[in-house]
Symmetry: C2
Subunit: 225 residues, 2 copies
């Protein structure tokens, strides 16, 4: 019998790769997307397509409005998405986003009796996000193993972050080998409704450089400048 | 200048007491309630009243629908609230609820630049909930101190659980001394729209026994059986 896993799926390049990896490892994958009021809402439509294309058992979307907290260019329309690289933690960092998304994954995992959660965080190209660091992932896993009914009953939860130490080029190579169609993914922080990318934000720059470094054509649809 | 704190406020007896304690310690309190589709929805109306009565700077309600995950008598209308004490983890346990609520508190704390979060968990009368144990609280605090911009910049977050080792009677005595009007709080897992309690669920039993042990009149409004 296949083991169940919850896979956080944003609709971007990284999480699509993670879903393909989890499937390749033989997990029955339950894909979870979080509609938190993000500026680049078209990534959620991409998540829906990708979940289907990559054979998730089920795709669920949880809605939670983080725009009321603000504090990020992705959730506060008064903060512009930077068009140039910045020092330190970027303005696109969303307060506690990974913690919130992992908490929701933990809840669903508990209901599904899944002992595995996958997340596409990356510490190489992570743009300075605190909640993409290995020590953070370890601490979340440790906390999760004290938080749930499963923990009390002795079933261990594993938090998988298979991209943690990969470069963008390596992620793209491995995903391509697993059949991920990256034309269907949306990475841009300010993608338009059709999912077309700006080509200028941090996320677009990292993605474009990744395809170049992998020696592959960039399938991204960019909108006219 | 007063320091900001985020206080999780359910509208029940415990979290109302915690808000009063945080205020008494001199914090400017930002009360956060989570509408997660709970059966006892009238506790949220109680939270609104209590935030105002106990002098919170602001009260915010975040809506997130956990009924889609189910797995608890509080979020799945097909699972009845037990009317008798049960062995082990009760059916009213909501998967990962405290982790989700603390994650939201962490997000708001980060935006407010608050370094203190208060939660009313209790390990004495905790009814077997895994996410009310001291080791869980410590592990969440540790994770939170790796998760955020504040963490990277060296500001430490403290997670306060002042009720952790108090009996219900002690909680009621301390809250009463701080002026909490418990008639305004709703603890019952199946309170009606007016906030009237069933008198039979775990939460009602613990609450009633607490007033008795404290030697105080129980101000709870019970509905006719």
């Amino acid at each position: 019998m296949m083991r169940n896993a919850v896979v956080l799926l944003s609709g971007g390049l990284d999480s699509a790769t993670v879903l393909a990896m989890a499937r390749a490892q033989g997990f029955a994958c339950y894909a979870l997307s979080v509609d938190y009021g993000q500026r680049h809402h078209s990534e959620l439509a991409a998540a829906r397509r990708i979940a289907q294309m990559l054979g998730a058992q089920e795709h669920r979307m949880v809605k939670i409005d983080l725009t009321g907290f603000g504090g990020s260019a992705l959730t506060d329309s008064n903060i512009a998405v930077p068009q140039q690289p910045t020092e330190g933690i970027p303005l696109t960092y969303v307060p506690a986003r990974n913690t919130i998304m992992l908490s929701l994954a933990l809840a669903w995992a508990e209901v599904l009796q899944a002992q595995d959660i996958f997340i596409g965080v990356n510490a190489v190209d992570y743009s300075g996000y605190p909640d993409c660091r290995p020590a953070y992932i370890e601490a979340f896993e440790r906390m999760a193993n004290l938080a749930t009914r499963a923990a009390v009953e002795g079933r261990t939860l594993s938090l998988h972050a298979p991209l943690l130490n990969l470069s963008k080029a390596e992620i793209i190579r491995q995903g391509s080998a697993l059949g991920v169609n990256y034309a269907q993914t949306v990475s841009c922080y300010q993608a338009d409704e059709a999912g077309r990318a700006c080509g200028a934000c941090d996320s677009c720059r990292l993605r474009r450089a990744g395809f170049a470094a992998a020696g592959m054509d960039d399938p991204t649809a960019y909108r006219a400048a």
